[in-house]
């Protein structure tokens, strides 16, 4: 029972920048006392109404009639809304494709598509009323999966992408060995603990304020304006915190906010919409499931000569973010490996299922899983440890060009893997496991070390900008606002620390406030792991402006030189004199110095030409590696993750405690995706796993008892990011691929590792047992 306390604590072993402190989350005390306010906890304005969506119960049908008479006369109902009640446009498509209606009009394209909304005095009354709708349909056959979509002609929701370098087909043909395969990768529900919610409060004229649980307040603002037919300046969107998001609240909040705002303006009362968990899971998008088909040419040393792969994705009925998601899958189809010649294509397929969306990793995990499967296949074909094949293909000087023609210049994967291999005692454990498997009839073990390289920056280059608004009040207290949103990831505490350090004051002097479109405009989604990189820099820019003014004031007013002015520990040093920060501020105010600044940041260097498939979409890469060991019960396929060792690169950590939390949490979420979290649609296109009773995310008892996570404390970002840190939100998610491959090894043991088990995901106990039996039967 050896559970090691992880390395990074309050007393790190290496010298640190001042920002690098394991400060608890700014809301930690509020979280543990239940006093942190989520939208459903806010005191509702008097007369608040409640909305409930009426969802389609067909996956693909024409709507012949919508009879809402019984709905409208149900007790407590104030009114109903359908497409005809929308004054602006009936669309919340985030990419301008006009394919995401708020309410379906003449046809429904997935089971669970919103068709109308009921507005009632209570949430219960609204829910009861919805059930009374009578909808007439004419059914069409639904296309619900990738195979059916391809069979029906392969309609795409958006333009596919091809990345190509060299002549992949020729390289594969000329290589000494070749293998072909297909892998099916399941999707994932976000299962944020706080479901979607919006509270809209009508104002005068066209104004409306919407409290929305969203990662992207600016987009919600634009969408609400669009649906109401009013300019963006009439709409204010606020978000103090979310109870989890993980990408599920990047675009999927739009519809709920629009419905609440629509009803609020229509009836002149505040309106709240909070779908039941089942409706939330049925009606909102998820991680894309993929089918990866690949051909690899390689040689006897395991070195890859050429790769051709197609990444087909179930996108659902509309584009949503499927374009950039499937793009990012291709951007990660190399993971850490150099492909001398390569051709990668995406197939963003339209299906009669909910429109899939952003989810931590944003296609990257699926892309990477394809790469790791190819490595695994090569290893089994050659009878080698997959780790050897990995090492043979790592990016290295001279072998550093990606399929999108960006050079990998900051590659530390070889060092990370070498250190982890050592610290996790990988080789000895692998040998022992192979030995033990020979003796064990029923219980088999597996171990795997897998690496991660994840590109940081939005591939939509214009998203790589951020703003912040900083006020210093006359008493020296500081008001911090930036365009990022807090979903639990600790963005606010990181940015607040940057600001506090800039002014030389304690954290208690900095007030973290709700993100508001009225304070920082045109923000990007808090996504792509970019929150601290972008908003930290924007806040630092705002602080710099104010400090420059204060310094100029001090030089003029106190007759010191600029380099004699220093801000430290709540004091301002003026040569050998010092004064309280607040006193300087008050003096500056009286001298009419502006004490407010808007900061701005845009990521340098990056560019991307999608048509050519060339550019530098990523500012830098984050790296990591994990070793997982599992035990599998070959009578049932059940398994247990026994030990996990992780070494992860966050550059110079802004906050080791927060970063550790992202790594542990990301890993376990990734493990859930690859093991027990199964989205199951029936033949009629109905999602049947739409609540925690049927959709199984990891529990405390699924977490490895022996879980050793370390930060690569020698790493610092080669780029001048905020304090040389690296983004941490998404990359650790993919460390969980090691669990899948360890399961695979345990399964492979039943046929003496001669055959790659080709486990599809999620590798539920059922899939594991079926693979065991397939291998035992000889493939």
């Amino acid at each position: 029972m050896n559970r090691e306390t992880p390395q990074p604590t309050d007393a790190p072993a290496i010298p640190l920048g001042r920002a690098r402190r394991a400060t608890p989350h700014d809301s930690a005390e509020k979280h543990v006392t239940g006093t942190a306010v989520y939208i459903d906890d806010m005191a509702e304005p008097a007369g608040t109404l409640h909305a409930c969506l009426g969802l389609s119960d067909r996956a693909h049908a024409e709507i012949l009639s919508i009879d809402l008479d019984a709905v409208a006369t149900s007790p407590g109902v104030v009114g109903v809304l359908t497409a005809t009640d929308i004054p602006g446009e009936n669309d919340v498509s985030p990419t301008g494709k006009h394919d995401d209606p708020v309410f379906a009009e003449d046809r429904v394209l997935f089971h669970g598509q919103p068709m109308f909304a009921v507005i009632a005095e209570t949430r219960e009354a609204a829910r009861r009323a919805v059930a009374k709708a009578k909808i007439g349909y004419r059914d069409h056959d639904p296309i619900t999966d990738i195979a059916a979509a391809e069979a029906a002609g392969g309609d795409l929701v958006t333009d596919p992408l091809t990345l190509s370098r060299g002549d992949a087909a020729a390289a594969i043909a000329a290589a000494p060995r070749r293998l072909d395969g297909t892998m099916t990768i399941g999707g994932q529900d976000h299962f944020y603990l706080e479901g979607h919610i919006a509270l809209a409060i009508p104002g005068e004229d066209d104004d409306v304020t919407v409290h929305s649980s969203t990662q992207h307040p600016s987009e919600v603002q634009h969408m609400v304006g669009h649906v109401l037919g009013v300019p963006s300046n009439a709409v204010t969107v606020e978000v103090r915190r979310m109870g989890g998001a993980f990408g599920g609240k990047e675009t999927q909040s739009n519809l709920f906010a629009a419905v609440a705002a629509l009803a609020a303006k229509r009836w002149g009362r505040a309106v709240k919409i909070r779908p039941d968990r089942d409706d939330d899971m049925i009606a909102t998008g998820k991680r894309h499931d993929f089918q990866v088909s690949y051909a690899v040419g390689y040689d006897d040393t395991g070195r890859i000569h050429g790769v051709e792969a197609t990444y087909a994705a179930r996108c659902g009925f509309s584009a949503d973010l499927s374009g950039p998601v499937t793009d990012r899958a291709l951007f990660h189809a190399d993971n850490c490996y150099h492909y001398p010649a390569v051709r990668l294509s995406s197939r963003p397929l339209r299906t009669n299922t909910v429109s899939n969306t952003a989810f931590r990793g944003f296609g990257g995990p699926q892309g990477m899983l394809g790469a790791e499967r190819m490595i695994e296949e090569i290893a089994y074909a050659l009878g080698r440890d997959p780790l050897e094949v990995r090492k043979a293909n790592f990016y290295a000087p001279g072998r550093d060009l990606t399929p999108y023609h960006q050079r990998v210049e900051d590659c530390v994967i070889a060092r990370i893997v070498a250190e982890l291999e050592q610290s996790a005692d990988y080789q000895a454990r692998r040998t022992a496991i192979i030995e033990a498997n020979r003796e064990s009839r029923i219980i088999r073990r597996g171990i795997a070390l897998t690496p991660v390289k994840f590109g940081i920056s939005f591939t939509a280059t214009w998203y790589n900008q951020a703003g912040a608004l900083v006020h210093v009040y006359r008493d020296g207290s500081i008001h911090l606002n930036h365009g990022g949103t807090e979903m639990g990831q600790g963005l606010n505490i990181k940015v607040a620390r940057v600001l506090a350090d800039a002014f030389g004051v304690g954290l208690e002097a900095v007030k973290i406030t709700a993100t508001s479109t009225g304070k920082v405009p045109n923000t990007s989604a808090t996504a792509a792991s970019s929150g601290s990189d972008l908003n930290g820099m924007a806040a630092a820019d705002a602080a710099r402006q104010i400090i420059d003014r204060l310094r100029a004031f001090a030089v003029e007013h106190y007759g010191v030189s600029a380099d004699e002015v220093a801000f430290e520990r709540g004091k301002v040093w003026l040569g050998s004199e010092r004064m309280a920060f607040g006193a300087l501020i008050d003096a500056a105010y009286l001298a009419r110095v502006q004490l407010s600044a808007a900061g701005f940041y845009k990521t340098p260097e990056i560019h991307w030409d999608r048509a050519a498939g060339k550019g530098k979409p990523f500012y830098y890469y984050a790296y990591g590696a994990a070793v997982s060991e599992v035990a599998v019960d070959t009578l049932t396929g059940e398994y247990q993750v026994e030990r996990v060792d992780i070494l992860h690169d966050v550059g110079r950590s802004l906050n080791p405690a927060i970063d550790l939390g992202q790594i542990e949490g990301g890993f376990v979420q990734g493990m859930g995706w690859l093991t027990t979290e199964e989205l199951w649609w029936d033949d009629e296109g109905r999602l049947r796993t739409h609540a925690p009773s049927t959709y199984k995310i990891p529990l405390a008892s699924d977490v490895p008892r022996d879980f050793r996570v370390r930060l690569a404390d020698w790493s610092e970002n080669t780029k001048p990011t905020i304090r040389r840190s690296k983004a941490v939100g998404e990359p650790p998610f993919m460390l969980a691929i090691s669990v899948l491959e360890a399961l695979s090894m345990a399964v492979a043991s039943v046929s003496d590792y001669r055959e790659c088990p080709r486990l599809d995901t999620p590798a539920t106990p059922e899939r594991v047992l079926m693979a065991v039996e397939r291998l035992r039967a000889g493939g």
Partner: protein, 488 residues
């Protein structure tokens, strides 16, 4: 003639609350958030699976005042007469965080914070009961709490740290035990409670005898014990359940008799209380039992309820059938007994006549010469519904199987005995080959369906493999089971 009271009273943290307008479908969570406006308790799923709404409920039992974690989302308000409801707002006192809360802050146990109040309450409940929990106990206490952000590692670190804190004697629930007991006893006036709201009726009989009378007077009433199933009819299906007879508070249904030949379990005994009987008399079931629901559900749900609702995937009927349990049904006409397997007639149909309530279960003790085993397979190890569960009871004499009782759940429309398998095995040698061959007969007995929990093919395979496991495990337990932690 019993007295009838038209109001209910309970303690909410420190306050006494008396309510008159209460309907049977009103949930504790809605009461807390919408009426009492205590919004620290969150709604995550409204079906008792995520634990974000975890609160403690104190009740007077044969062991005195006990506090148990429950899911407020499916705990029906009317059932709380004479109980003490303790919410997250009760923990921090005088501006000081409780030890569990402080440990969660110190160890970064919260990220988004939405599951956190529920996690704090589950750990608080654990430490009240088990001041020095080991890792197994901590994980067991958290089986009913989902966290999507942290990966649980910091929560487990916090739990261990909180368990080190020795200031718990000052905890108000420990220090105030006598006073709370007195206040709750004063609320128990022996009356039948009859509550209504908007014409919906909730009835809390004064006694078991009264319950039989109430049922006779109220044909078609919904009987509710722990509400872990009926709660979902309310929150998910919005099914009307009025008139509703609540029986979870009846002392007579909590009775446990440990006789020489058999154990008698009142229908109102919760899974959690039953766990103590399992440990003492049916240790082979201990690990299996710990995988039923999460801790909150085990505190609320009852063995009788799991039997009475007749679900094909209930985890209690297969082992009870394998052990040869009988069910006693009580009505105004008297008591009727039948073997448990005969109680299940078809999907959703049980042999319970109008006016009858499931009173108790009588479970024969397995003798020393008997080999018993029970297994559950589900996608996720804990807090999941079985794909298949199987229970086995064999008598072996001189290397030959002389008796066999085998029952499966998840393999048919009801929990069912595998009689063809039993017939095949009786007279066979006790060996792996016979158990493997017996698997062929599973198909004669059972034709499972394919659904989101498992395919028919997989269900078949594991039902067969369970038979082999009984033998293999009997020969060498360590070599055949995952190195599980937990009750085993």
């Amino acid at each position: 003639m019993v007295a009838i009271r038209h109001s209910m009273s309970f303690l909410l943290n420190d306050e006494t609350v008396t309510l008159e307008a209460v309907g049977p479908s009103d949930t504790l969570l809605d009461y807390l958030r919408l009426q009492a406006r205590l919004r620290g308790t969150k709604e995550g799923c409204a079906e008792g699976d995520c634990g974000a709404c975890t609160v403690l409920v104190g009740r007077l039992s044969a062991q005195g005042l006990v506090y148990e974690t429950v899911n407020a989302c499916i705990r029906l308000l009317a059932s709380l007469d004479a109980s003490h409801v303790v919410t997250i707002e009760h923990l921090a006192r005088g501006g000081r965080l409780h030890a569990v809360q402080q440990a969660m802050v110190d160890h970064h146990g919260a990220q988004c914070g939405f599951c956190t109040p529920g996690i704090v309450m589950s750990l608080y409940g654990l430490l009240l009961d088990t001041p020095e929990p080991d890792d197994d106990a901590i994980e067991t206490a958290l089986q009913g709490n989902l966290c999507r952000c942290t990966g649980y590692a910091p929560i487990l670190r916090a739990a261990r740290a909180a368990a080190e804190d020795r200031t718990q004697d000052a905890d108000p629930l420990i220090a105030g035990r006598a006073a709370v007991t007195a206040r709750l006893q004063a609320m128990r006036d022996g009356a039948r409670v009859a509550l209504t709201r908007d014409g919906q009726r909730a009835l809390l009989p004064a006694s078991l005898t009264d319950a039989v009378d109430v049922l006779a007077e109220t044909p078609g009433a919904t009987i509710v014990a722990g509400a872990t199933d009926v709660g979902l009819w309310v929150t998910k299906e919005m099914r009307p359940i009025s008139p509703t007879i609540f029986i979870g508070h009846l002392d007579a249904l909590q009775a446990i008799e440990e006789g020489e030949r058999e154990i008698t379990i009142g229908a109102g005994v919760s899974y959690a209380v039953m766990a103590r009987i399992i440990a003492a008399h049916f240790p082979f079931l201990a690990e299996y039992w710990q995988r039923i629901g999460g801790q909150q559900v085990r505190n609320m749900g009852t063995v009788g309820g799991n039997v009475a609702n007749g679900s094909p995937i209930g985890d209690t009927p297969p082992p009870l059938i394998a052990l040869g349990a009988e069910v006693d049904l009580l009505s105004a006409e008297g008591r009727r007994s039948l073997p448990l397997e005969d109680f299940f007639i078809g999907y959703g149909r049980q042999d319970r006549r109008a006016g009858e309530i499931v009173e108790r279960l009588r479970i024969p003790k397995p003798g020393a010469d008997v080999i018993c085993a029970a297994y559950k397979v589900s996608k996720r190890r804990d807090e999941d519904i079985s794909a298949v569960c199987g229970a086995f009871r064999f008598k072996v004499a001189d290397g030959v199987i002389t008796a066999a009782r085998i029952a499966y759940g998840g393999m048919a429309a009801t929990p069912r005995r595998a009689r063809a398998v039993e017939r095949y095995l009786i007279g066979q040698r006790w060996c792996e080959a016979a158990m493997a061959r017996a698997g062929d007969a599973v198909a004669e007995d059972l034709t499972p369906i394919t659904d989101w929990r498992a395919s028919a093919e997989y269900r078949h395979k594991i039902a067969r493999n369970m038979l082999r496991r009984v033998y293999l495990e009997h020969e060498d337990a360590r070599a055949t089971r995952l190195p599980h932690r937990g009750a085993a």
